[in-house]
């Protein structure tokens, strides 16, 4: 048996259920691993061993009994208010039983730590945070992705086998892509969100699992959704829509080649077919997502509050919060009209195809100290480049999954995104598993250098 902490989520849960692994020892191992590796990753911003042991002592039998997990700094816990990666929020927060906390507790899981995140959830790199940047286990000088930077770095660094993130404009899928993980953005409203300070008003943000592979995402996703995301053969004869647009073409050659190879492998594995699709206004849809999430995030903001912002907020956060106050209401209304248009276009497309595929990110993880990417169209900030392929699923409510499909010359993960119709979360997991089988699990089983030592020792 390999080191229990290096097993996947399903394997850990099964080994505990079979009495092969002691959950107390697994928790201690996770805490020790965090102590050992977190200085290089800054993935976990707080641990609370006594609380974790209390959770374990009270843990019911459940699908995640005794399994240690990390939760993003985006929901309260009974003993800790979320900070949202920032020195200050526009909306007050307090400790409490959030939805994700409840479902994890009721599934028997142990929360071992809180995951770092990009400040205010407002970035796709993880380079900026109240707690300092999180680091990518594949190269600690690189961005881990965001905004669920800590959850992704924690899973990729094998601190834990699963983590709960949140996805408002790609914030589960983008760090999954940068860190070589599988990340599911469930259909809007399907996964636990209660307790998130924007839960009452958001039409974009969902909780979602980050794990090594689709099977683990299915397990953790089922817990988050409160219903089984059942495995099936829905991916048989998969009709894959491919969009020839900047999301597929304005990408690095390595990303293009890996994703094309993966799409063809998925088609062959499922006995499916490829169809070229037109999906106009994707760039505008990304902006629509930005405008709507900005309007949600500014709920409760007043000029007076903006004049009293904490000096500990980053200059970028201070400036963008103030700028967001100036955005014209007409633009938000136009964004909502575009959302309607894109939802109708997608509904029509999903009558013709089962999934729409394009690269999750146009380039692998950039350096933390210069988060820009070189694309055929020129140099862009990673945030600007990443949101283009991520925002549509949030804007329209559809589910999406990111899965690893290769490594760059520099040894950095490359990733493919599949998007499905509303409620097709299970189909996306089936398709991701089909692709894993097709490529021999080569990429989901790849281990970053930082975690290689323990994997080979076992």
């Amino acid at each position: 048996m390999s080191e229990p902490l290096d097993m996947g989520l399903r394997a850990q849960a099964a080994a505990i259920a079979a009495g092969e692994v002691d959950p107390g020892e697994l928790l201690d191992a996770a805490l020790a691993r965090i102590e050992e590796r977190n200085p290089a990753l800054n993935a976990v911003v707080e641990t609370f061993p006594e609380r974790s042991r209390e959770m374990l002592a009270a843990a019911p039998a459940g699908p995640l009994h005794g399994v240690p997990l990390v939760i993003k700094d985006e929901w309260p816990l009974p003993w800790r208010a979320q900070r949202f990666g920032a020195a200050e929020l526009m909306t007050p927060t307090a400790p409490g039983e959030s939805g994700p906390y409840r479902v994890l507790r009721d599934a028997g899981a142990t929360i071992v730590g809180v995951g770092n995140m990009h400040e205010l959830g407002a970035g796709s790199t993880g380079a900026l945070s109240y707690y300092g940047a999180a680091h990518n286990p594949w190269d600690t000088e690189r961005c881990p992705g965001g905004s669920s930077s800590g959850p992704a770095a924690a899973v990729a660094g094998r601190l834990v086998a699963g983590a709960v993130g949140a996805d408002g404009l790609g914030s589960v899928r983008l760090p999954a892509a940068y860190c070589g993980l599988t990340g599911l953005k469930p259909t809007f409203g399907r996964s636990a969100m209660e307790g998130h300070h924007l839960a009452p008003i958001t039409n974009l943000i969902v909780s979602g699992p980050l794990c090594a592979d689709a099977g683990d995402c299915r397990l953790l996703g089922s817990v988050l959704c409160g219903e089984e995301l059942a495995a099936g053969d829905a991916a048989a004869g998969l009709r894959i829509g491919v969009v020839r647009d900047p999301v597929s073409e304005d990408v690095t050659p390595e990303v293009a080649a890996a994703c094309e190879e993966a799409v063809e492998a998925l088609r062959a594995a499922t006995g499916g077919e490829l169809r070229e699709l037109a999906l106009p206004d994707l760039e505008a849809a990304s902006l629509a997502g930005i405008l709507i999430i900005n309007s949600e995030a500014m709920s409760g903001a007043t000029p007076e509050k903006l004049n009293r912002l904490s000096p500990e907020l980053s200059p970028i956060a201070r400036g963008t919060l103030k700028y967001a106050m100036l955005l014209p209401a007409a633009a938000v209304t136009q964004a909502q009209r575009l959302r309607t248009l894109m939802r109708r276009r997608l509904a029509a497309l999903f009558a013709e195809v089962d999934v729409i595929a394009w690269p999750t990110v146009p380039a692998p993880a950039p350096p933390l100290d210069a988060p820009v990417v070189e694309l055929p169209s020129g140099t862009r900030s990673a945030d600007q480049a990443n949101v283009r392929g991520a925002a549509l699923a949030n804007l329209t409510g559809i589910p999406a999954i990111s899965m690893p499909v290769g490594l760059s010359e520099d040894g950095l993960p490359l990733a493919l995104q599949l998007q499905g119709a509303w409620g097709a979360d299970e189909l996306l997991l089936d398709a991701a598993e089909a692709l894993e089988r097709a490529n021999g699990r080569r990429w989901v089983d790849a281990v970053p250098p930082l975690a290689e030592a323990s994997a080979t020792e076992a």
């Binding site: 963008t320 700028y323 959302r339 309607t340």
Partner: protein, 67 residues
């Protein structure tokens, strides 16, 4: 790309003054950079003719739209 952006020297100070929001030089520099990135596509979004898009009443994002 920033050619179509209204001058941040006018738009931003005027907006801040109208709302009574204070900003130091760093705030203004960040806002100007964000404005240069955001405003051109925002202007394109505003220019999209969506007049024939029938609004979706109380959209339920967990489901597809009624067609």
């Amino acid at each position: 790309m920033t050619e179509s952006a209204p001058s941040d020297e006018g738009f931003i100070p005027a907006g801040l003054a109208a709302l009574g929001i204070e900003a130091d030089e760093t705030d203004l520099a960040v806002m100007a950079a964000f404005h240069g990135l955001l405003w051109p596509p925002l202007a394109e979004l505003l220019a999209l003719d969506t007049g024939d898009v029938e609004p979706e009443r109380c959209p339920d994002l967990s489901r597809g739209p009624r067609l």
